[in-house]
């Protein structure tokens, strides 16, 4: 080993260590922010290590410098711009987009490495060509699936794409198998020296990514994004084999494995198995035809004024925020309402279902943005025993996570999903735009219960009316 080798070796080791510490730190509230910065620093370090290695050995041609600078400037600038501008409510889509671009990067670099072999080892033939081609194929395959799948996931979350009925036909599995088999065949052609079959591989794996993601309903999208995130790690690890970099392989493998664990956690929160998410299709499309539908018989609706009167008399209020709240951008208005209640000596707590919002933790982020104290956010297991001692529950844009069917009705598709026991409280107000079903498309038995009142209207509008009513009642004016 000569000096540049040793330096690179040390830097790579350090970078891996810092990345591992970064991922670990990201899983604890206290250290998360520093850990994120640490991981970013480790990435910078790895780039410095790579550049200094080539500067110390073969040198870096000036033309390469130019392309490096152009590529990194454009990518970083656009990425920064998006990261700073995007509203907090569209976090899941943003992560999906970033993830897709990561997959695209692995895909491109693998195509480049195949068409214009730059690895001396591969050229000289000391690294078996089979292994080289196989790594390239895996990188293309996983990279393309990550890219097309993430873009579809993003488009669905943004509402640009719906779940068309024809994607729910059973034949879709056959179509996807055809895409998969085509990928495999083109892979075999590719290793046997047929250069042009690389394009077939690119096309087939891209279509496979679309074919698998498109039929999945919006409610399951977070799981899919988490899984695709794991894929992009695998794609990076495969690219590591292509360019013979241990650092890439370790980092890719870590992200791939950690992504799998996260995916598992999310599935548990929704009581769905990964298999049923991936192959079960959209829950809503199935259930509207079979079980779960039915008419509401006993809906009580009430005015904002009545709601305010009940709130004023309460001692303890639990707020159940859902995605509807996020869509209406009402988290700040909600905070104003709860501030008023708190000033009147009413205890306010937020019950956070594990999958509130569109992703686990998404709702916490949104409420934190509105300055809700961290201590007031309570997780489901903690808050569930507290409902019987609660006067008023405000359900804001949440639906399936408060459906008692999940506990009582064995025939319901929701059965077994952990839910918030809001019906145990004295009074439940559900603020909702209309009687439409939730993401699962299933009737919510909660709405029929005698202690439930519906307040119809857009969450933000209702909440700001509520502020007015509370003011008239003299709540919060000390």
């Amino acid at each position: 080993m000569n000096l540049p080798d040793i330096i690179k070796f040390v830097i790579d080791l350090l970078a891996v260590l810092l990345l591992a510490l970064g991922i670990k730190g990201l899983s604890k509230v206290r250290s998360a922010r520093e850990a994120n910065i640490l991981a970013a620093f480790a990435m910078l370090l790895s780039v410095v290590g790579l550049l200094s290695y080539y500067l110390g050995t073969s040198g870096i041609p000036s033309q390469s410098w130019a392309w490096i600078i152009v590529g990194s400037l454009v990518g970083s600038l656009l990425g920064t711009l998006l990261a700073k501008k995007v509203p907090m409510t569209s976090m899941p889509e943003t992560v999906a987009l970033f993830n897709g671009f990561g997959g695209m990067s692995s895909l491109l670099v693998a195509i480049g490495a195949f068409l214009f072999p730059f690895n001396e080892v591969a050229k000289a033939g000391s690294l078996e060509p089979f292994i080289n081609d196989a790594s390239i194929s895996v990188s293309i395959f996983v990279g393309a699936i990550t890219f097309s799948g993430s873009i579809v996931a993003m488009a669905k979350l943004q509402g640009w794409l719906s779940t068309p009925g024809w994607t729910q036909v059973k034949a879709r599995h056959f179509v996807n198998i055809v895409f998969g088999v085509t990928s495999l065949i083109s892979f075999i052609y590719l290793i046997s020296g047929n250069v042009s079959s690389i394009w077939l591989l690119v096309i087939a794996s891209t279509l496979l990514g679309i074919g698998v993601t498109l039929p999945i309903g919006g409610a399951d999208m977070p799981v899919v994004i988490s899984l695709l995130n794991s894929y992009s790690g695998i794609a990076a690890a495969a690219a590591g084999f292509v360019v013979d970099s241990q650092l890439l392989i370790v980092a890719g493998a870590m992200v791939g494995a950690a992504g799998l664990i996260l995916t598992q956690v999310m599935c548990k929160g929704m009581n769905r198995s990964l298999i049923s998410v991936l192959f079960g299709g959209s829950l809503s499309a199935q259930t509207t035809t079979s079980s779960g539908s039915g008419e509401y018989t006993n809906i009580t609706s009430c005015s904002v004024e009545e709601c305010a009167l009940t709130l004023e008399a309460a001692n303890r209020v639990i707020v159940v925020p859902g995605y509807g709240l996020a869509v209406a951008q009402a988290q700040h208005t909600l905070r104003e309402v709860t501030k008023k209640l708190e000033q009147n000596g009413i205890e306010v707590v937020y019950a956070i279902h594990p999958v509130a919002g569109r992703m686990p933790g998404h709702m916490n982020v949104l409420l934190a943005e509105a300055d809700v104290p961290y201590e007031q956010l309570k997780e489901m297991d903690v808050v569930n025993p507290e409902f019987p001692a609660t006067d008023v529950v405000l359900v804001l844009g949440a639906n399936d996570v408060v459906n008692p069917q999940a506990k009582n009705d064995k025939s319901s598709p929701l059965y077994g999903m952990p839910v918030l026991d809001v019906q145990e409280a004295r009074t439940v107000f559900v603020i909702k735009r209309g009687m439409s079903a939730g993401y699962s498309g299933i009737k919510n038995d909660l709405f029929d219960l005698p202690n439930t009142s519906m307040v119809f209207g857009d969450a933000k509008k209702v909440l700001s009316e509520l502020i007015g009513e509370l003011k008239d009642l003299g709540v919060g004016d000390k």
């Binding site: 392309w67 976090m91 990561g102």
Partner: protein
């Protein structure tokens, strides 16, 4: 490195990843996913290698450069967006007193 030692690296890296995050509070699921996603942009190293090793005037320069752009979009954007989310959790007596 020869292939089998790279496979060892892959195996041990995966095991490390499985062990790293055992218990995560739900609050951190989205930021953690976003942070891990930024790290997966480490393919930028592969893109850099391709650009450096490309012959002058090779189309590989362009492919590598585009690939690098995509990767850095993922990395830089990913870390910034994660920081934005996490910044909201930090107790903020300093930030609020404005």
């Amino acid at each position: 490195m020869n292939f089998d030692s790279l496979l060892w690296v892959l195996l041990l890296g995966s095991l490390l990843g499985l062990e790293l995050i055992g218990k995560v509070p739900p609050t951190l699921h989205t930021p953690l996913m976003s942070g891990a996603n930024a790290i997966s942009g480490i393919t930028m190293l592969a893109a850099l290698t391709a650009i450096i090793k490309a012959e002058p005037n090779s189309p590989l320069l362009i492919i590598g450069s585009i690939s690098l752009g995509f990767a850095l979009f993922n990395v830089v954007g990913g870390f910034f967006v994660t920081d934005r989310m996490l910044a909201m959790f930090s107790r903020k007596p300093t930030k609020k007193n404005k």
